[in-house]
Amino acid sequence: MKKGVDIFVEGLLREGVEIIFGYPGGVLIPIYDRLYDAPIKHVLPRHEQAGAHAADGYARASGKVGVCMATSGPGATNLVTGIATAYMDSSPIVAFTGQVATALIGGDAFQEADITGITRPITKHNYLVQDVDELPKIIAEAFYIARTGRPGPVLVDLPKDISLGQTENDFPEQIDIPGYKPTIIGNKKQIKLAAEQIKKAKRPVIYIGGGVIISNAHEEVKELAEKYNIPVTSTLMGLGGFPGDHRLFMGMIGMHGTAAANLAVHHCDLLIAIGARFDDRVTGRTETFSPHSKIIHIDIDPASIYKIIKVDIPIVGDAKNILEELLHILEESKCELNTIEWLNQIEKWKKENPLTYKKQKGKIKPQFVVEEIYRLTKGNAIITTEVGQNQMWAAQFYKFTKPRQFISSGGLGTMGFGLPAAIGAQFARPGELVIDIAGDGSIQMNIQELTTLKAHNLPVKIIVLNNNYLGMVRQWQQLFFNKRYSQTDLHTNPDFGKVAEAFGIKGVTIKEEEEVRDALNYTLNYEGPILLNILVDEEENVFPMVPAGASNIDMIRGDN
């Protein structure tokens, strides 16, 4: 006979879990008692939401499943934003929540919330454990579901009496879930059709998404692009899936993408979408998206296909597996593409419309800060971001060359993600430089995590691009709402440098452009955690920009 709490710990160890981001509470006391001397590291965030984001950041930086835990009721509901964030970006996490004893469920007990009901639409799957005999199987299934197929969050709700209960059941040797059989191998016939299209293409474009990173298909993408001279664009989630400094890379696609990428996708005759889902921030107006092309769509989730855009050749399966087969077929059939004219055209678009900004005396341009971070880190840092202008400038001006190097909330767009995600990433990759590029609005949404940095002396560097506004909303208000800055003025911000000092970590504030290089040098070389608060040009905008609902070629270039 084994106790529920022993099964819990054994289950985590079987899955290779090294770290839990968790917060105790009444119904979790038996589990926390068992964890007290268990060989698993436990990190205490100062808010459960940050625990979920940290598990997510850990998962994205490592490729392993992240684990978070919270108590019943408010602890569990505080995880919700973090779980939804992981769901939208297909990040594998397992969230354990405490629950009131099974006999009390449904009676509005103290700290009771129907968390499986609440998280049903934002988890890949969830479980309420009703019998301790099922616990080993449920834990094994939860991890299996989280990491396989299109990954995602799984929640396991553990009533207190289940933790204390006893069972003779052991973990299953093999997982067999009748309703869950993800397709990994792509349909050969479809892959052959795709190869035929590629051979005929004159103006092909590869469009990669986060799926390339999840599937570890970056080498295959590179081979496909280089062998056949096909230019590449990426979604926000795909950044790092193809080297950002590569001659064939056109930059990001979509709302804040480069003109070259948007023009190329508009004028191409073949669009090869790999691990991407045609999000509205990518397509702009769908009716006019890539109007002249045949579209090949490679995705592991059958529901991603035909969801937004009608495609010509759908291929369901794992991107790496499919690309291996595709490369093999192209090689065998001695495919040769002549795209010189097309690449020249793209080169022209790149030259005519570079990502740029106007320097102004006496003002620190946020883009300049990101460029300098890129230069000083030689493109090797792990960058997390918050959401808004800071995120877009980081995506535009830092050239990501490796997968799992850019960690950002793309789908849900969660402010407050960057700092806890940086904590998770730093635990996943302890020797590496982790930087949270933040905004002054977002950083306040999980600023309590400065304590977690302090507690573990985590050398995360936080760089706040502080414009004293909710910048992205302010930008929309400036462009589309006649500069009526409704509720976006944050001039009552605290002094973030001093805030950091109060939390016991180094804090620095700068206001002058001349200080940027030295301050960044100091920050990036500082040994422990540090927050650099940079007062940037307050009304700087992110360009280019495709207005919501417009076609991608109708970009606003800005006054840069």
Binding site: G117, K124, H125, Q130
Partner: protein
């Protein structure tokens, strides 16, 4: 267009909520839903009727398939299938109307299952269109209460 989708699911608590929630959360229109255990007590079969264009219905089926507790999804609309509904309807009756109602009951091969001085309750098992037609015919007599199951369906052969 109206589609009839059968869904084989694990017979576990919360599964109906997952399916109903999927329709509500993604803005799909559910017109009827019938569910009960199959010959295997671990499995239930749901019959859902939903409306939408082809892309929408395809998306509904794919999203249903993504649910871990869903084992099989089948849009039977385009295949040869038999669909039935059960109707229970209570009518106001008088001496004058009784014979006319009974005539309709006979034509539609329905059945009288309860009778009082002022009411008559009729049961009918038929295709959804025939059930609708029967209701149309009975409307003028004054329907006191009506309950229909929503369709269940099975493939031919």
């Amino acid at each position: 267009m109206l589609h009839t989708i059968t869904v084989l699911v694990e017979n576990k608590s919360g599964v109906l909520a997952r399916i109903a929630g999927l329709f509500a959360g993604r803005g799909y229109n559910i017109l009827s839903l019938a569910v009960a255990e199959t010959e295997n007590p671990n499995l239930s079969r749901m019959t859902i009727t939903a409306s939408g264009d082809d892309m929408e219905i395809e998306q509904i089926c794919k999203q249903l398939n993504k649910l871990i507790n869903v084992i099989k999804v089948n849009d039977v609309t385009v295949q040869e299938h038999i669909a039935r509904e059960l109707l229970l309807v209570k009518l106001n009756v008088t001496k004058e109307t009784r014979t006319s109602i009974l005539e309709i009951v006979n034509i539609f091969e329905a059945k009288v299952i309860d009778l009082t001085e002022n009411t008559m309750t009729i049961q009918a098992i038929a295709s959804p269109s025939k059930i609708s037609n029967l209701i149309k015919n009975l409307k003028n007599f004054g329907i006191k209460e009506l309950s229909r199951t929503g369709r269940i369906a099975i493939l031919r052969g």
